[in-house]
Symmetry: C2
Subunit: 564 residues, 2 copies
Amino acid sequence: MQCFHCNFSVNSTQRALQTVTYLTHNSYSGGFRMRSVRKTVLLAILASVVLVLALLHSWPTRASTAVDVWQRPGPIDERHLEERLPEPDRRFGNIPFHVRDNVASLLARNGCVCEGDSGGVNLPFVQLLFPRVSAHPLHAAFQAPELQEMKRRREKEYRSFQERTQTPADLLLIAEANNPLQYPTQGVEVRPLRTIIIPGLALYSLPRDHYSINLTATLGTLNVAAEVDRVKIKGDGAMRMTLSSILLPNLNRQLQFVTYTNTLFHPSTADTVQFETEGHQASFSIKIRHGVTPKLYNTGSKGEYNVSALVTIATKTFLRYDKLQDLINSVRRYYPTVTIVIADDSETPQTISGPYIEHYIMPFGKGWFAGRNLAVSQVTTKYVLWVDDDFVFTANTKLEKLVDVLERTTLDLVGGAVREATGYTATYRQTISIESGEADGDCLHMRRGFHHAIQGFPNCVVTDGVINFFLARTEKVQQVGFDPRLARVAHLEFFIDGLGSLHVGSCDDVIVNHATKVRLPWVSQSESDKTYAKFRYPPASSDATHTKNGLLFFKNRFQCLTHN
Amino acid sequence: MQCFHCNFSVNSTQRALQTVTYLTHNSYSGGFRMRSVRKTVLLAILASVVLVLALLHSWPTRASTAVDVWQRPGPIDERHLEERLPEPDRRFGNIPFHVRDNVASLLARNGCVCEGDSGGVNLPFVQLLFPRVSAHPLHAAFQAPELQEMKRRREKEYRSFQERTQTPADLLLIAEANNPLQYPTQGVEVRPLRTIIIPGLALYSLPRDHYSINLTATLGTLNVAAEVDRVKIKGDGAMRMTLSSILLPNLNRQLQFVTYTNTLFHPSTADTVQFETEGHQASFSIKIRHGVTPKLYNTGSKGEYNVSALVTIATKTFLRYDKLQDLINSVRRYYPTVTIVIADDSETPQTISGPYIEHYIMPFGKGWFAGRNLAVSQVTTKYVLWVDDDFVFTANTKLEKLVDVLERTTLDLVGGAVREATGYTATYRQTISIESGEADGDCLHMRRGFHHAIQGFPNCVVTDGVINFFLARTEKVQQVGFDPRLARVAHLEFFIDGLGSLHVGSCDDVIVNHATKVRLPWVSQSESDKTYAKFRYPPASSDATHTKNGLLFFKNRFQCLTHN
């Protein structure tokens, strides 16, 4: 019973019709003793009344304006503010200046260039001490014939993405000098379809016979919450309102009562309001959004950190049940009741039993990041601890220390250290930055190291990527996610996806042991990983966009990756 | 080999030491024919040189300032801008005004009140036609003794959350009137640790002997990319810079070269810059953030919509393998190669086989939303279609229509319609809004209905929540997530968590059949769901915060839920 041409809610009409059906049915089966004509007439009247009530009730109370949510092809305003040195202003054409190279060179160029370090001494230990930066153009993930098509699709997807993510609140606005208007430049927000008072509006004009201002909006209407004597109001309740008076104090008092009501629904956007008086104007944004709803977690008992209530351990396993059991046994020695979530894509999954263990079976070889994403998707505690299935807990694996860092700082994730059998301990700290490219995509730069030490935590630093042993806020990890398109070995892709979302730290005093055969530190990790991956993970698909570099190229729109 | 007290990178030192070890080892085994004393001295010198080089190389190039990322207890600036009518300004104390009730009543009150509709005619069909709003105070999810503790914990978690999410870019700033300074009020952004030119700075002062401006920042330094003749620069490269000149055009030309460099790393924050000249000042924000990295998906062949390349069907099943098989068979009739992801928490899972089917086994009774979260976590296509395991596809289930909506609009999710055996078809459209509360939490309001029709799609509307049959952008659904704490039947909680993130639509011309026994439309859905849930889903935990209302209270910090 759909209603294609009606503009009242289907539910209401349905219920009305069903009511009539119900009553009709009941009247027949209930055996009313009436003459059939009168009965029919009565029912007809009742039916009409009910239908009219339904119609009146579900008549939309707000003019059901159609909203335009179409994506538009065409140029989109670029938001690049890292400009080159500004073109000479004609007014200043004659004024000489000298470029400061050390500063000008820090400014972004037009586009980024895919280069690493050139030359350098080619001695065996130099690469160890002074790791060179290598640059990888990412289009190389694709064969020549398909590259053109990939670029075209990527641009199309990117334009849609820009349309969905840019808002008027990102546009550059400049405040005019010597403007008699006073107005808010930041911080004005309204929830969708709600009303607020616009704060801070005033006019400080030179004395004149008559004072007048206009306010214009596009996603809502303007009005006044109170009427002030001797002020004329026009267009109240519309998208353009004019206030005028011969008395400036009265106009300013009136300006304190101006309201904005959002009328065109959008869950997250901004309206740019124009504020004008004779000879001057100003623009400011009113953000229209719901506000961030928190996702808080119960923390268990007060007092000491209750690790079992706060932390879930998550891991992915493939074929290594013996190592996995060693991991579980070692965890239980120190944390007998902490929940361990295991994602398993082995070909013939074995049973893993025990209290506080959750075992998830996946299709064979579904993949590494798919398994990681699965495991974290099941966590119900405030924090999740990621471990590889070949780690072993020791007395140095004090999770309370990592919990302490996240409880007392604004960090979202903190990595620990992994010790090999040789005693070599790694924190694998990486800084990650993005340099704007143009049509070819941005450049991604990864460097070993960190940004700052952390006050009050002498063994910890702030960085962008860490080793695969970390504690993190569950809601942040779930929000960033591990892209299941990465079937083979991947690691930093999670941190790349988390850029801007995750505030990452790394502490070297919480250590877990690594049970696997010693990996020679000077053999580049990617080579051993490639062999490992080839042996263990059949290609999930022939889609080149699902390889690490193909994904960086297509999904994240990078043209180049440099790292040391 | 950790280094607790050094401030250079562990990796560099490790490599240096390993190099020395390697060389020493090799020199011994390589059998150098030298007298042992000379050999020792030579090795000692070599070791020192290598160590010194390592030290020099890894000496931090930037003063490794410690950064303060601690959470601070104490009052946090409230961002409530939906103010009551402003207090009378002393300057305007005598100016009379009259409140406009119809507008003033739209403004947010201080806190929200938990009330539904009162009274109303109590006739059998009135509730059908005029559904009354009922209000549910959510603290009732908790027993009296634990409620106090829950409130305390919730406030503590909420304060941490506020610290992590608020930035200086949210604060209210008002532009001073008649300010000779010109400056940017919106749209200035820099990537972390990068440098930009600050656009739009100028001074339009009345003629005077000497012109001078100051710029002050707190998370970065100021400098100039070029030096202009006859302008004196002080504090360049510091957090406070002064520019002065006797020639105003020169000073304004210099202001076009002012740069800002972020020096204190934070992945997403803002610096509030003070811009001053004699007698006047202005503040503006420079957003410090990475920029949003896209997560784009390959769309398959060009031309027609390739549903198998674009869409993955996701569902959760429990005990109903016959219905599940009916679903799969019906899907295959129309979409033989589309991937179907099935999350299964049955007690004795059966094998579900077939091409393009991915079957995931979960711990028994892990739960409804856990299963939903699992299924969507595995999707690798651009869109995911959610279906319940007792749906049946028909010729009216044209997924291409839903794909068309998402391809051509900025919507993130679009629901379809579910037809019962009786022919009754539901779209279950819900609008959701939040009203700010104060210390007790916000009020959540849900109402049947929608906001607007959609231009160009006559059967579709914009709303906030829809029925359990929808197509959505995979990256958005994964980002919002289905909270695995909801073990029992839940539905709108996903849309509540998605408020502000998801732009939701609903079309009534794409219909899937519902195979389950007819649910009487006038029996309230929650009652049959409760029975269903009790029969099928054992309580996942005794944690009251994991019930629907307990979660709304604690996790989302609501005090009240009203709905019709």
